[in-house]
């Protein structure tokens, strides 16, 4: 990253904050809000997967935990959502620590770790679907109370700005990690765990810290989801869709970079929307799953042509342009 990542964050967040001033279209605002929610989830994934090299296929477990705790705290315990938010993030962190403790201490790496996270997400999904407390298959409905004190907004722009504030916080957190000792040690563990241990890095502790932070950040995305849609069921909260989007966005945007998840989420969801619209017009009705086809194609294209993601491509072009000028 450049020497002034915080200035970049300020500039990009300011530009994003100005977007809704140009439009009042509900479709655009819904899309932007949703993209911000996915960005936060992806930023959480990026801490563990991008910087730490531990690929999770089950970040839905954190997203869903955040979403459910947020909803149930309000519905079952009458807690204010602003108070439920830190609780939900803490629960996400706790689930992260627990999964990390079980899998990293057993020295699970690579695809084994990925499969274990996938299994955890499925266990949570099936449990939430079966348990009465979580509303079972019927799900949970958060009562509509359009009031800022209830984290519900009549003006859709306000919700977008709230989600954007979470994105900003996640960007600042990531930028701080990237420049900290923790970040350097996390990247060292990703690159070569043995060598990192020889240099005094407690690999287990570092990975645990990463998955705990990652769980908290992704849980925050779940909280936003609850407040945006006011309805949850197990397949929405713990479904594989969010695991996939949380990992695809950083891979497409740029793994282990501050802005990768944001760029990736916007590109991914943007292309998904465009494809859905185009196909709906062509076929005279919506074609379910056609956006997933685009996601798959994007992933293949990225792996083959842009292993460092969109940001990596841009950096490459900038560097060659600079060379051409010199």
């Amino acid at each position: 990253m450049t020497s002034a990542p915080y200035a970049w964050i300020a500039a990009i967040v300011a530009a994003l904050a100005l977007l809704p001033l140009g439009t009042s279209s509900n479709t655009v605002l819904n899309f932007l809000s949703f993209a911000m929610i996915v960005t936060v989830a992806a930023q959480g994934w990026n801490i563990l997967g991008g910087y730490g090299g531990q690929f999770s296929f089950g970040h839905a477990v954190f997203f869903g935990t955040g979403a459910y705790v947020m909803a149930l705290a309000q519905v079952r315990f009458g807690l204010n959502p602003w108070l439920a938010l830190p609780l939900a993030m803490a629960m996400g962190a706790a689930v992260g620590y627990a999964i990390g403790f079980l899998s990293f201490r057993a020295r699970l790496r690579g695809s084994y770790f990925a499969l274990v996270t996938l299994a955890f997400a499925e266990v949570f999904r099936i449990s939430a679907n079966a348990w009465g407390f979580t509303g079972g298959a019927a799900g949970v409905l958060v009562p509509l109370k359009l009031d800022a004190a209830q984290m519900q907004f009549a003006d859709k722009r306000l919700f977008y700005w709230l989600a954007l504030a979470f994105v900003a916080a996640a960007l600042v957190l990531t930028a701080w990690i990237a420049r900290s000792r923790f970040g350097a040690q996390l990247v060292a563990v990703r690159e070569n765990e043995e060598a990192a241990r020889a240099l005094g890095v407690d690999a287990l502790a570092i990975k645990l810290r990463a998955i705990t932070l990652s769980g908290a950040v992704t849980a925050a995305a779940g909280c936003l989801y609850t407040q945006k849609f006011l309805y949850l069921d197990a397949n929405l909260a713990y479904g594989p869709w969010i695991s996939v989007e949380a990992l695809l966005a950083p891979i497409i945007g740029g793994l282990g970079t501050v802005f990768g998840p944001l760029v990736g989420a916007v590109v991914l969801l943007g292309l998904g929307e465009v494809t859905k619209t185009v196909f709906a017009n062509l076929m005279g009705g919506s074609v379910p799953g056609v956006d997933l086809v685009v996601f798959g194609a994007l992933l293949i294209a990225c792996v083959a042509y842009a292993p460092r993601g969109v940001l990596g491509l841009l950096q490459g072009w900038l560097a060659s342009a600079r060379k051409a000028r010199a």
Partner: protein, 263 residues
Amino acid sequence: MSVLLSVKSVTKRFGGLTAVDDASFDVASGSITGLIGPNGAGKTTLFAIIAGFEPATSGAVAFEGRDVTALPAHRRAMEGIARTFQIVQPFAGLSVRENIAVGAFLRHADRKDALGRADEVGRKVGLGPMLDQSAGQLTVAGRKRLELARALATEPRLLLLDEVLAGLNPSEIRDMMPVVQAIRASGVTILIVEHVMQAVMSLCDSVNVLAQGRIIASGAPASVARDPKVIEAYLGQGAAARMQAQGDAQNVAADARRGAPDA
């Protein structure tokens, strides 16, 4: 001289194979001590045990008089034991400076301090011009220096060098030896596993010879090199006697040519 590292009756078994068998030796503070032996003697295993990467089946390792046998690798690094790897392990995705900084972060929590320290150490081992390069682009000699720099950046009191000269050409070896000597001169004790004999002989103050997991000889390099047990370990049983006989025969022949038969 005081003892910095003490290896006490260390044994390591992998199933039925005894890789290290009751090995004991000391490393004097401020010395360059060698650990040599033929291929498969157990040197790298013993090294891994000292650095905390493998648990010993039995025996103990003491550092500065304290028992560190139970400490994991990262804690030993904190205590002041740093190691390099025989097969170099750069963080390939990072720059040379960032690689070294990972080591420097052990004692410097602040990024600026750690990067400054990394620059300093990098220049000391001759990586000054390569600091901004990606570690993956370094030559073999460069990677060996990077291994050294990273370990040094943890500010160790004992540096374990696992074949830092292996795979280098003679001129690269000549360039590297002063670097090792300079590290010792700066107050770091060095334990070195090495195959390049020329280097062992000129660098080490004392040498321990490991063969089939046992320490068979210890002492000054010159005396160890003459030890019949050592010669046999390298060249096979009876080699010392044959060489002795050959040497005697040559002496006799030489004496005969000089025309001065002695007895």
